[in-house]
Assembly symmetry: C2
Homo-oligomer: 289 residues x 2
Amino acid sequence: MGRELAFIEALRALASDPAARGLADDCAVLPFGSETLVLTHDTMVAGVHFLPDQDPADVAWKLVATNMSDLAAKGAVPMGVLLSYQLNGAEPRFLVGLAEALDEYGARLLGGDTVSSDGPQVLGLTAIGRASFLPVPGRNGAQVGDLVYITGPVGGAMVGLEALRLGLPESQSLAYRRPQAHLGEGQALAPFVTAMMDVSDGLLLDASRMARASKVTISLESAAIPLACSEDRRDEALRWGDDYQLLLTAPPELTLPLPMHQIGVVVKGQEAPVLIDGAPPLGSLGYQH
Amino acid sequence: MGRELAFIEALRALASDPAARGLADDCAVLPFGSETLVLTHDTMVAGVHFLPDQDPADVAWKLVATNMSDLAAKGAVPMGVLLSYQLNGAEPRFLVGLAEALDEYGARLLGGDTVSSDGPQVLGLTAIGRASFLPVPGRNGAQVGDLVYITGPVGGAMVGLEALRLGLPESQSLAYRRPQAHLGEGQALAPFVTAMMDVSDGLLLDASRMARASKVTISLESAAIPLACSEDRRDEALRWGDDYQLLLTAPPELTLPLPMHQIGVVVKGQEAPVLIDGAPPLGSLGYQH
């Protein structure tokens, strides 16, 4: 983590460009003629981001969905994707999931390339979107006094991965295998939010990132956070990624265009970027990869 | 190769989209508001596309240059790049080469991501460009009667790699380590060409791809092809990639805006897509990866 962060910081310095905030897990935003481009790239590695023996159709789905989720957080409309695919012999199943995911999100396969390598399979996807609202929401706009919202429950992917590992019926692992990107919600919410991002690495960790970027503290109320798991696993669920809900902040006087879960408030920045029931969370905040 | 081609064909079928010609080694072209986007993604794997012990600064340069060369063949102006980087501890040297290459080509680092993996290093780059001329040149427009041109000599990277492996002075391996993308040439030529592509996998192989895409045969005159190696290695040089010259076709009555090497003519399609001195080339056509 330290090495990765240092590298990303060095890349950002090299870029000297506000658009380079896209490094790591955000999107790049680029004015382009009469439109604004929203670009993101996610790489997944077998054994790190997916189980080596997982159904390649699910892996393809997740590769597309994670990138679509990045676009969703920007209120962007998907234009297409470029695929970087490392051949491993499981192409037929991969194609099935890829087709399903592209169809689901209305994204076109525009191009990409294939490579051969003996190492763990590395898959990359670049997603290209069109901003539906300007300014494009960032993670750095949360204001003191804003309310904090999330689009849906967390913990579903956590339970889903366990079900998959245990060989339980497929329906029980769906949340992990086939995460949903909230594109429609992101587009509808973009005009209303002061900050928005997707929760890919755990609610507490991603909330802390939003708070640091916005130079505020996000104070969450634990009991208000909707769960897709049993109550006794609440602490874990707040630290578990892969649910891809949208986390957002908006002024209290605004009525949002969708029903949302209000889970906290934005307060003046203090030492801890995120508070849970008034105190800094204990232990790790989430999945740092 | 068979498996890769089959997969790419399946992806193309899945895409059902003319823009999906970008699969494999071409660019995707996408109307976007008042402009036209040109997108490309290249992945490089240690031990396949570069030597595992090569200077990471040179690897970074090549990663950028190969993608810029794809843009060059479309007459595109670089807008920026997204980097997919697998951490391996050699980040400081990689950053040096990345900065040099981005500066050379006026491309901005817009974003990307980093991953960790134990396998051979896998590096990806997505390049985003703006079309400078419409229609964007493709590899499929060569017409019977057109003349065939190349921007410069081939064989330089072949000799350069040998020099690198032998530990000869750095200047002798420059063509391999620091290939040049011909962006200015591509932009100047785009309005004049019927077809254009960069030579990344060997002149004979890439010419055969252009010929097949255009449903013609490309008849090359061996002695007219400029070399960056000794004459006795001509046959090898025509099959060696990594020189990134532009290969193009244009009507004979046109005067091109740059001095070019005329190396052949486009003739009616026959069984062999490419002829060298009137006969199908013997053996492999180039580097198939």
